[in-house]
């Protein structure tokens, strides 16, 4: 195994941020960066933290600092087609993980413009290359839904074995992905038939939009970087950093009364007594669920990266089957 080659790589292309995870020997590496693409190179000395991808020979900055103020759904350079943007983000994740090849790649993309399908994924990947114009070499590619990835995160451990203690042996469990653009659920019957129900509610950045509005109202300065602010709870404008965690919490609580309670009723539907929540806004869901005393609501550890962890575990368990 040469340097830059990993056995399993997982990339979750989210609406706000891209999460990557890889393991070659020993410890897993991970990376997380905003879903943001800009054309051209940045002429700054000491730009070691800037990662580039290359589309048709043009340099693309992946996950660089924000260029726009206020609420922006995603800063994707208009010059890039949807395929090229998706490929650049995946290549950017490889670049940040310090990898150029892998045996198994497991993917999930949640943005509606970035649809991954088995027939086109190879073509999509080939539309962007690394900064040194070499393409990323991938053996086997798997595509998963986000709630499946979360279920795998709950039911499989890091070695890829079924987790005995993590999950209840029977009953019904709801898996909830509280993302930025959509909140989705899958309800699984753990024993017996394994019956499954799926559903979703469109949130279209409701939490983020509300949080950014409230921060701008109370601080009277424009917010720079939605993904960074939501992840760190710190609003930066110029060189001044201000703690906005309580404002973001307030926005999440408001989201519960706006659509959270109705969504929870749908996701639980009298049957499920257990919920496993992941995704960036998992806290918004679990904060509301605190009043449901008869429901066992578990939030994924490091909920922002729980989906990519599930993808990674799935790659570990099922990725090598065909090799």
């Amino acid at each position: 195994m040469t340097a830059g080659h990993a056995a399993v790589v997982a990339v979750d292309v989210g609406s706000l941020s891209v999460k990557g995870m890889a393991a070659s020997k020993g410890a897993a590496q991970r990376c997380i960066f905003p879903t943001r693409l800009a054309m051209g190179r940045r002429s700054v000395i000491g730009e070691s933290d800037v990662h580039y991808a290359s589309v048709n020979g043009d340099a693309v900055r992946v996950g660089d600092r924000p260029a726009m103020d206020g609420f922006v759904a995603a800063e994707i350079a208009r010059a890039l087609s949807e395929k090229e943007a998706l490929a650049a983000l995946i290549v950017g994740a490889f670049s940040r993980l310090g990898l150029s090849a892998c045996d198994v790649l497991v993917l999930h993309a949640s943005a509606p413009s970035m649809v991954l399908s088995p027939s086109t994924v190879r073509e999509v990947l080939s539309s962007a290359t690394r900064a040194d114009n070499r393409s990323v070499e991938v053996g086997r590619i798997g595509i998963m839904a986000s709630t499946d990835a979360l279920a795998a995160d709950l039911l499989v451990d890091m070695r890829g074995e079924p987790a005995v203690k993590a999950a209840p042996p029977d009953g019904t469990i709801s898996i909830v992905d509280a993302g930025a653009r959509q909140w989705r659920y899958s309800r699984f019957e753990l024993s017996g038939s394994g019956e499954e129900t799926n559903g979703a509610v469109e949130t279209e950045f409701w939490v983020e939009r509300r949080a950014i509005e409230m921060i701008e109202q109370s601080f009277t300065t424009p917010v720079q970087g939605v993904a960074e602010t939501m992840a760190s709870g710190i609003s930066t404008s110029g060189s001044v950093e201000r703690d906005a965690a309580h404002i973001i919490d307030a926005a999440r609580l408001a989201a519960w009364s706006e659509f959270g309670a109705g969504f929870a009723a749908q996701a639980l539907s009298d049957k499920a007594r257990r919920v496993y929540v992941g995704g960036g806004n998992a806290r918004a869901f679990s904060a509301g669920m605190a009043s449901y005393k008869h429901i066992d609501c578990r939030v994924a550890k490091q909920c922002e990266t729980s989906i990519v962890r599930g993808l990674f575990k799935s790659g570990k368990r099922w990725g090598r089957a065909g090799l």
């Binding site: 590619i141 798997g142 993590a166 065909g322």
Partner: protein
């Protein structure tokens, strides 16, 4: 505690035809003073074993939803 006088003594025939060759030899090999209590102990052990219910025994821990786990695995779309 129950007094020794309160219980009626019983007689048990220990011979190869009644209890089997193996058990008869085992009882015969013991010191005479121990034979009675040993027969009683074995009888009680047998009684316990016959009445043991599967519920009281510790069952194996079922792995959480193995069906569901494999079902999720099958839903992944693989591209070779």
């Amino acid at each position: 505690m129950v007094k020794a006088a309160a219980s009626e003594p019983i007689t048990v025939t220990v011979s190869p035809t009644y209890v089997g060759v193996e058990l008869a030899e085992y009882i015969g090999s013991l010191p005479p003073a121990l034979r009675g209590t040993e027969v009683a102990r074995l009888a009680y052990a047998g009684y316990r074993a016959e009445r043991a219910s599967s519920r009281r025994r510790k069952s194996a821990v079922p792995v959480a939803g193995p069906v569901v786990v494999e079902r999720i695995g099958r839903k992944i779309a693989w591209v070779e």
